[in-house]
Symmetry: C2
Subunit: 441 residues, 2 copies
């Protein structure tokens, strides 16, 4: 199953060469075989999955129009409300929580014909206290987080597509660690109505897939205006699948950026990886240093994020402090101690950082930068470091990671490609060009 992309599977289902029922049976078989070891799913009801698939097959056989994801199984991070499955936010305090309605993004997936296969493991409230998920490439290693079940399930070939969210590095990092494509569109592109809120200015839904085209396919279904989420915009979607398939008008020019946290966070292989990419790209890429003003970005990102935690998790702390992990409580306490003027001053950084990057995007089509400090670290107690993701989440830029290398333990390493906020289609087109160029090298 993992040999076929979601785009190909959707074409076969649409043509009647594959039924939705056979599609989900293949997924369920793989999950039955593997998930006892990987622990990617937290809620999965095979009967309910089959019922969805059968209904979709009846729909298609009746000759009615079908959506672009007809019959395609999708995994949903367990901070995203689903009306049929529980949504427990990775917390014992939400055990058995059953939302009455789907999150907007789930409703959009159903409308596109997707099968909501199951809920995937999230860290506690999408922060860093890990769930039980293991890295499919080596189960002694973390899959990353917070969208750990979504990343691992796609990486292991259990499902072709999954949805996650990112507030620091919760899509791009696990995608890199698990060797799949991860994509986080521009902040506000996908409605978060019905998704657990941790930090309004940063929270962004993203996706996991095995190819850039697949990520584009599902994002095309997810992106759109939702009156219930004021961060979304009433504008036409970016048509990412078409953009990914489009030829570049001119060969793109890339800025290779180590990023403000490189010196502290980069593993031993990163400098060499960037150097190889620079060599492969030749005159199509320049090594570029960001201005010094970017250096305090990490602390500023954390200040805003912890205020978000304080704001959104206070009810849980009040209800049952013991049900909240120490690392989460510490972050909440940090946010509680922040004053309003400190918070507003931190938010002001966004404009300055955006202006600095704008100058870069005036000269370069996209930025190439590490997706993570290296391969997934050993152990399940930490989900790894989001240092290479915070800046891009802060400014709300669209970003993708594509697997490009292996680390010393043979685990995958991704490279991150970043576009200008709002230019998601151009990013996908340039990332595809880069992927082909690196593959040819």
């Amino acid at each position: 199953m993992s040999a076929l992309s979601a785009v190909e599977l959707a074409e076969r289902i649409s043509a009647g060469a594959l039924s939705a029922r056979d599609m989900v049976e293949a997924c369920l078989a793989r999950i039955a075989e593997r998930d006892g070891e990987i622990h990617a799913f937290v809620h999965l009801d095979p009967d309910y999955v089959r019922a969805q698939a059968d209904a979709l097959d009846r729909h298609r056989k009746a000759g009615r129009p079908i959506g672009p994801l007809h019959g395609i199984p999708v995994g949903i991070k367990d901070i995203i409300d689903t009306a049929d499955y529980p949504t427990e936010n990775g917390s014992p305090l939400d055990r058995g929580r059953k939302p009455k309605v789907d999150a907007t993004l789930v409703a959009r997936l159903r409308a596109a014909g997707a099968v909501i296969l199951g809920k995937t493991v999230t860290t506690e409230f999408a922060f860093i206290n890990p769930g039980p998920t293991r890295n499919p490439h080596n189960t002694a290693h973390t899959p990353g987080g917070s969208s750990q079940g979504s990343a691992a399930a796609v990486a292991d070939g259990m499902i072709p597509l999954a949805v996650g969210t990112q507030t620091a590095g919760s899509v791009i990092r696990p995608a890199s660690f698990c060797g799949v494509v991860g994509a986080k569109p521009t902040h506000g592109a996908v409605s978060l109505h019905g998704v657990f809120t941790t930090c309004e200015p940063f929270d962004t839904a993203g996706v996991f897939a095995t190819t850039l085209e697949d990520a584009a396919l599902i994002l095309d279904a997810l992106i759109g205006h939702d009156p219930a989420d004021s961060r979304t915009r009433p504008a036409p979607g970016p048509k990412l699948l078409a953009a990914t398939r489009a030829a570049v008008p001119l060969p793109p020019q890339f800025a290779i950026v180590r990023g403000p946290t490189f010196a502290d966070a980069a593993g031993p292989d990163l400098e060499g990886l960037l150097g190889e990419i620079a060599e492969t790209l030749g005159e199509r890429a320049d090594m570029v240093d960001l201005p010094d003003a970017f250096n305090s970005m990490a602390a500023t990102h954390r200040r805003i994020m912890t205020v978000g935690f304080a704001r959104n998790l206070a009810p849980y702390l009040k209800r049952d402090a013991e049900g909240v992990s120490q690392v989460m409580r510490d972050a909440i306490a940090e946010g509680m101690a922040t004053t309003a003027t400190e918070y507003l001053a931190a938010l002001d950084w966004k404009a300055g950082l955006t202006a600095g990057l704008d100058r870069l995007f005036d000269r370069y089509d996209a930025i190439i930068t590490p997706a993570a400090p290296g391969e997934a670290p050993e152990g399940l107690s930490s989900t790894g470091n989001s240092a290479f993701n915070q800046l891009w989440t802060f400014v709300g830029a669209p970003t993708v990671t594509i697997p490009v290398a292996k680390g010393p333990n043979g685990l995958p390493i991704g490279i991150q490609v970043v576009g200008r906020p709002g230019e998601d289609g151009r990013l996908f087109r340039n990332a595809r060009w880069l992927q082909q160029r690196l593959a040819e090298a």
Copy 2:
């Protein structure tokens, strides 16, 4: 001069029946006669005013197209940047401050043909520490604040139009106290780029005029998108002058609302005034009580406003604490002590208040509510109470005040008409209908 409205004056100038030079000479004569007593202006250069007028006359005589405010003198509150006059923000710490460029709204006035006549007195940083301006109806009484010079200059017939700003009640209250029309459009309608910032979520530019049509005329020139102010929207303007002149499709239905602070703040005449208006309107109006949830609105408004002060005035305090008044320092200290989560929780009230008012606007075309606690109080040490303005500023609703009564000391009292945010044109049309109906009674 005060017998002619800005609309009529603009028509006469456009027709060649009145020169811009004669127009400004009339204003300058009135100011020379009266402003020694009223103190409405803080910067005024008669030669510069004449030079502007002469250039406009030459422009018109050359047969070139002219703007809707061609030759009309406008007073500008001294927290609004002007390239030619100083802008001192009502503070000794900004004495002699000379901005290099006009605020966007000043540039828009110049583009419409207006004469920037002079800068009008503001309280210190547009808060409550008063300037020297007196009420033209009785110089022992306050003109209100913070846009005190703009209100008094229009009320005294020195100028036909003036611009102010409102963060609590700084346009509607002084307009009511001075017996002129005041209008505060929807939050974000007028660009505040180049205007002193006190509190981003509340600051709104407004205008003073002798008629609703005149207020509409100048707002039509001011309202519009400005890429430099993200609160403005790229949408067509509301065409307020046309709306003000338009017949109502059906007689409007009004909700008469005492407002959440009525019991504490209303002067002795307000209940009777609302009763008279209700009687005049008969079946066209209902007395409506707001839900109890509105009762803590004043404290919530103050929390957000003082955080704004803390954020925006910190550099002044740091530079010279003695140069900041005690009342301003107290408000800044209050804002400094507010935590980020308290601030965000206060901002959350806006959605709840807006939803509550939305239900009212589903059933009523506009709200009638006091503009101020009564007539202007005696004394110059206080600018009066903004209790009747905070709610409408908080939710960003468009509001106008029209003079309708006299108080026990013979000073004017206005009544406030409030529309749904974004429906400024409908508000002006309904306020004009109300004004005519009250005049007929």
